[in-house]
Amino acid sequence: MVSLDKAPLGVKVKVVDILGGKGIIQRLNELGIFPGTCVTVLQSGILRGPLLVSVGGRNVALSRGVAKKIIVEVYK
């Protein structure tokens, strides 16, 4: 298990847990990111920039700080 910012690009990974407070968890929830969903990291910005993540057929930009709080499981 790794945090989302360490997940490989273009590979479907499964969200296992989201660390952090109620605010961030709810916001991610509303965009369809919660334990059990699958997400794919499409792009990773330079200079520790944000990640572009595909979830439920829609793209979402997440800053790296947020991505660090999302724990995912990578299937080999």
């Binding site: 109620k22 965009l31 499409l42 920039g49 572009l52 829609r58 979402v60 930009a61 700080g65 947020v66």
Partner: protein, 640 residues
């Protein structure tokens, strides 16, 4: 009858609103364009009703100010029927808001918008099945093309009359038991707050801050706590997560029952997107894009400005000189004509292509991409990518930019972003940059001004974020909607809406300002004002007569430009000002005190104290930048 549009951000509520109420709401292809609610009276198929467009909200739990506006409006209970606008291409996620609206117990019509987009994704939605599951009418729409709008409102009118509520979506047995138990205990409170008991019970279990603080009864608070604990013990997570997980599951079940998922088409735009969002190439495209945008606007503007200006010079101004010299009437007429000419000849040529370009960019959906690319840099100056939306809106006009800071979660981010937005050269200041620097010095010099501006904004951001206490940063979580081909009609309507603001508000002000200046000149009062500003003009090495234009520029930034020509009694500024002075003047007007409308917007969003601070800050920054640039240009003898 009052019909209220509710939906998640970027689901097309404002587009639907504009379809029936006329183009009043600015729409764009990024989340959070509408931050306050808009009302319109509509006469539709012989019925008169009111339609309200609420800001997008992901759920009925409010995280930012725009969402709070929507929720509070619904809680007031003034809606007869709600149209829940849903992006059909992300139906599963969107249904979570629908479920909450059903819990809220209000007559509902579900509008499946973006049906074309859903089809492209291979979603085959059985809307009659969806309708029977939810117990509400479902209407399919493609709002941008006006498809389904008539049927939508006919259905809504009917629902508003019969006031039939939809079905309640039940939770799992054990959660449902807890909800029902709490429901019986909140009956008094629910009738006091005028919300359904079941809705209230669920919100309390979700530990919703506002509803929790509405509970004054200690005993009830204790009971809520016990029930929350029961849920979280049984499911091994906080009670709010239990409820939201249940909602996800319900939404997914409904989706699976009503939708057949086929094969999505691989689209060209996805391939384009992977280039435009690429971690290196993205920046190259961004630069090319900005450079191209800037040059196209300038070329168009220049092409229009030159013949218009010479038209006024050749025809109108000489006519006036036939009148007897120095009568009051002549002075007033001269001011009137100069104000008129300034509006048509100098401002509109740049304003129109700029606003059309901006509308196209907004509707294409490139802005959230820029936000993505710029996030890392904004982080370095203490902000995050979402702040880019207000900052970019600022290039159109600072007022909506400041208002859109409501999409930011923390007060600190709102303050920083609103402050920085006032430094962004709006359309009015763009006309000054184009009309003076690009026109007299060259387009590349103008481009440099924009770059300098960005650097100054970044430096200020860094400085301000150091001195403002750091809130707990939520960080950027922002939807990036797919590209859309802008509709010509929407682009033109939007441009017209914005130009109308110039024609109706700014232009009369320009003409009035010019007349006032003429009168001041007639009674030789302008010298008094110039004397008042002379310490400043002296420091900046500007001709003393420009002093008065700087005072009037606070009303509307374009006034500074139009009056400059008038105060210097020429339409060729270069005859009385050196290139250095033109640059100094432009830089000063770019940065100094925002216009009155912007100050008013700042006051509304930040309060009087912070607005005062921002105003003083702009004055200091403007003087510093203008002075430094003057010194550097003179020292290096750039223009000689």
């Amino acid at each position: 009858m009052r019909i209220v549009l509710v939906g998640q951000p970027n689901s097309g509520k404002s587009t639907i609103f504009n379809q029936v109420a006329g183009y009043k709401a600015v729409t764009s292809n990024f989340p959070g364009t509408t931050v306050k609610y808009l009302k319109g009276k509509v006469n539709f198929v012989g019925e008169i009703f009111e339609i309200v467009d609420l800001p997008g909200t992901y759920s009925l739990t409010s995280l930012d100010l725009a969402e709070l506006v929507s929720r509070n409006y619904l809680l007031k209970g003034e809606a007869d029927v709600v149209i829940n606008v849903v992006d059909a291409s992300i139906l599963s996620r969107s249904l979570e808001l629908t479920i909450q609206l059903l819990e809220f117990g209000i007559p509902l019509v579900l509008c499946l918008n973006f049906m074309d987009e859903a089809a492209r994704k291979g979603l085959n939605i059985d809307s009659s099945k969806l309708s029977s599951i939810l117990g509400v009418p479902v209407v399919e729409c493609i709002a941008v093309k006006g498809i389904g709008i008539n049927k939508l409102f006919l259905t809504a009118l009917k629902m508003g009359k019969v006031k039939k509520k939809g079905r309640e979506i039940l939770y799992s047995k054990d959660v449902e038991d807890v909800i029902e138990e709490l429901e019986t205990k909140v009956l008094t409170l629910s009738s006091k707050l005028k919300v359904p008991a079941r809705f209230l019970a669920i919100k309390l279990l979700e530990n919703d801050d506002e509803f929790i603080s509405a509970v004054k009864d200690e005993e009830l608070i204790a009971e809520v706590k016990i029930l929350q604990d029961r849920l979280s013990k049984r499911h091994g997570k906080p009670s709010y997560l239990v409820i939201s997980a249940e909602r996800h599951a319900s939404a997914l079940n409904i989706f699976e029952e009503a939708v057949k998922v086929g094969v999505a088409k691989v689209l060209l735009r996805d391939k384009i997107d992977s280039l435009l969002m690429h971690k290196h190439l993205g920046y190259v495209f961004l630069f090319i894009f900005l450079y191209g945008f800037f040059n196209i606007v300038f070329t168009f503007g220049k092409y229009l400005e030159e013949p218009l200006i010479s038209f006024f010079e050749d025809f109108l101004i000489p006519e006036v000189s036939f009148l007897p010299i120095n009568t009051l009437f002549k002075q007033v007429l001269k001011g009137l004509l100069e104000g008129l000419a300034g509006g048509i000849g100098i401002v509109l040529p740049y304003l129109v292509p700029f606003l059309i370009g901006l509308a196209v960019v907004e509707d294409m959906g490139y802005l959230p991409r820029i936000a993505f690319l710029m996030d890392t840099f904004l982080h370095r100056v203490g902000l995050h990518g979402k702040s880019v939306v207000p900052l970019i809106l600022g290039y159109g006009c600072n007022v909506p930019a400041i208002m859109s800071t409501r999409i930011l979660e923390s007060e600190r981010d709102r303050f920083l972003t609103a402050t920085l937005s006032t430094f962004i050269p709006c359309a009015a200041r763009t006309t000054i940059i184009f009309g003076l620097v690009a026109f007299y010095i060259g387009p590349n010099a103008a481009l440099l001004i924009y770059l300098l501006n960005i650097l100054v904004v970044a430096a200020l951001g860094k400085l301000l974020s150091k001195v403002t206490p750091e809130a707990i940063p939520i960080g950027m979580v922002m939807e990036v909607p797919p590209y859309q081909i802008p509709s010509i009609k929407v682009v033109l309507s939007k441009t017209w809406l914005r130009i109308k603001d110039f024609v109706v508000v700014a232009w009369p002000l320009l003409i009035l300002g010019s007349i006032v200046l003429s009168l001041l000149e007639y009674y030789s009062l302008n010298n008094l004002l110039n004397l008042f500003v002379s310490p400043l003009t002296k420091v900046l090495d500007l001709p003393q007569p420009v002093g008065v234009t700087l005072i009037f520029g606070v009303l509307r930034k374009e006034l500074a430009l139009v009056m400059l020509m008038q105060a210097l009694e020429t339409t060729n500024v270069l005859t009385v000002m050196s290139k250095t002075q033109i640059l100094t003047f432009t830089l000063f007007t770019l940065f100094y005190v925002p216009c009155i409308a912007t100050i008013a917007a700042l006051e509304r969003e930040l309060g009087i104290k912070k607005t005062f601070f921002v105003t003083i800050l702009t004055l200091i920054v403007a003087t510093f930048i203008a002075f430094t640039s003057k010194e550097i240009v003179t020292l290096l003898q750039i223009f000689s």
